[in-house]
Amino acid sequence: MNLRTLICPYDPELINGLSNREIGVRVDSASLVSRAAEMVRNSGNRLLCVILDSTQPVEAVPWEDAWKGIPILLTAPAAGEFRKLVHKLPLLKTLNLKIYLSATDENIRDARILSSLGVSCVLRIEAGAVDWEALTDLMTYALCARAPHAPIDPFDYIARKYDAREHLKWGGVYLEDAEKYFHLDKEKNVALSAKEALARQFIGRLDEIEKAEPEEIAQRADAWSRNFTGNSPCATCEGFKICMGSFRPEDGKTEGCKAFFSETIETLGELYAQKDRAGKERVWQL
């Protein structure tokens, strides 16, 4: 059984009870960031990152110089007012930071702004209310913009890992990959995503699961194959290699997601062809 990275709440008893694991620790207050990082590092475990779940926009987070050297993943509802954010940028650019934003229209715009200014972002794409056209535009920027800019995931991850011969799972960008991440509560109950952990949709306890993996894990990992057995329209979509059916909207209107993922694959194809012609690595990151 491969040992997953554990995404844990900030609980000393829980974390000190683990050993030799890679741990992402969630906090909901900026004042806990440094303490949480130190606790994990002193517990005999490896720190993946501190996940700061903020209800405030990025510009309102009380960023600290002391956070340099701590990998931070900030989940925030929005970037906030640019004129307030701009004063935080000199510090933000020095941090080992990824900002997670949901893919609203405003956040799609702000992810581009942040990236162009050297701050790495991750857009949380969920099936449903996404402006696929705006997202396609952002994808093109993330992959093709000529000026150096910070990565925007999932595009950067997809660009680095894509292989035209294989399907690509990139849920790990959101720390949601049943083969790589477990989300724990204080009692070591395991969920396969943060959302499920919050909803207490657990699949079992850590020690039991690590003795014998439950069916749910394999089912989650192979969920994509049901598109073929279930005769889903996604199975014949040009974008399936990247989407894997994960983003099919409930209303069944797939024009948007189809266009987005197909164009992403097409763009990647062109970029790879360019790279072959150029014969050298293209630098994506600042």
Binding site: F82, R83, V86, L89, S116, L117, R146, A147
Partner: protein
């Protein structure tokens, strides 16, 4: 350097406005964030370190202050061409958000009209002075000569009163070929220069120098006047007309307002600003090949042949040419008829 137009709206109606036809024929537009970022990338990739913001009136853009902050964060020097007329709210934003930016990084050129010669409501004048009161030290005065009896005295007082930068951006109001805005005709340029020279004591007394904008022909300055320009020190004497690149909110690009309908393209057709400049240099060459020069004596002029003087602005040439076209057509038709050539 290129000018990025943030908006197609303006708050003033200058009698000489050479942007008026372009502005009135464009739908209401403002530059989007996505396009601003694209242009910043484009300029950076072209090796440009300075960006000018224009309009219409650029401060009308709802995100004007944020755009300036963004470009500064991208390490561009930002220059804003403004008429200084803005709401109290916008002025407060400028003061609060931009008041600490060093004036080597951010500058304004405030285009000033003589209130006695250019009809404008008192309210406008008041707003200009409020702007200068707040942003004077960042601001260079600008003035467009559109009548030979122009009066500059008001300007020296403003420069002193508001601590403005002591360098005047001085332009000749350009004709928009086919339009009816006020401008200085080629035969009047010498008179305008004499009028300018008459202010030399004030220029020297107020220690104000100036940078003449495009369209001034060298031959219309006497040797004494040229000496005066030179003695003022550091004057960027330009007698050439080259493509000034203007990029609109909808990402069209053209070479300066008066020529905005000629060879208009999309910025997406080019990879660098250099390519854009080369393209419009070709446009200028075509105009000059067809329309020759604004004075007969330009033919065989040593300074023209050496490339020191362009022989007037391309817009002035095109204006003459467009005005000639109908006459030449009729003349040419009747010439051919009378020639009784065998068919």
């Amino acid at each position: 350097m290129a000018n990025i137009l943030l908006t197609s709206k303006c708050t003033r109606s200058c009698p000489y406005c050479f942007a008026e036809r372009e502005m009135s024929s464009s739908p209401d537009q403002i530059l989007s964030w996505e396009n601003l970022i694209y242009l910043a990338d484009f300029m950076a990739a072209s090796g440009e370190r300075a960006i000018s913001l224009l309009g219409g009136e650029p401060t009308l853009h709802p995100q004007f202050v944020d755009f300036v902050l963004y470009l500064l964060q991208r390490e561009f020097r930002v220059n804003v061409f403004t008429n200084g007329i803005m709401s109290s709210h916008r002025l407060l934003e400028l003061k609060e958000q931009l008041g600490a930016v060093p004036n080597e990084r951010l500058s304004f050129v405030c285009n000033l009209n003589n209130p006695e010669q250019t009809d404008a409501p008192l309210e406008q004048q008041k707003r200009v002075e409020e702007f200068l009161g707040a942003m004077g030290p960042w601001t260079q005065p600008g003035f467009n000569i559109y009548r030979v009896d122009f009066d500059l005295k008001f300007l020296f007082d403003l420069v002193n009163l508001y601590g403005m930068k002591r360098r005047l951006r001085l332009g000749l109001a350009h004709p928009v070929p086919g339009a009816s805005s006020a401008y200085i005709k080629p035969g009047e340029i010498g008179l305008a220069i004499e009028r300018l020279y008459s202010y030399r004591a004030l220029f020297e007394g107020y220690q104000l120098d100036f940078g003449p904008d495009c369209g001034f022909p060298l031959c219309k300055f006497s040797d004494e006047q040229l000496g005066w320009l030179y003695r003022m020190g550091g004057v960027d004497m330009r007698f050439k007309c080259g493509p000034v690149i203007d990029i609109t909110p909808d990402m069209s690009v053209y070479s300066c307002f008066p020529l905005s309908s000629l060879d208009r393209r999309s910025i997406f057709e080019f990879d660098t600003l250099g390519q854009v400049a080369d393209f419009f240099a070709e446009t200028h060459s075509k105009i000059r090949a067809e329309a020759k020069n604004i004075y007969p004596e330009c033919d065989g002029c040593v300074q023209m042949n050496k490339g020191i003087c362009s022989g007037g602005g391309a817009c002035q040439l095109l204006n003459i040419f467009k005005n000639e076209t109908a006459v030449r057509l009729l003349e040419t038709e009747s010439e051919l008829e009378n020639a009784n050539l065998p068919v």
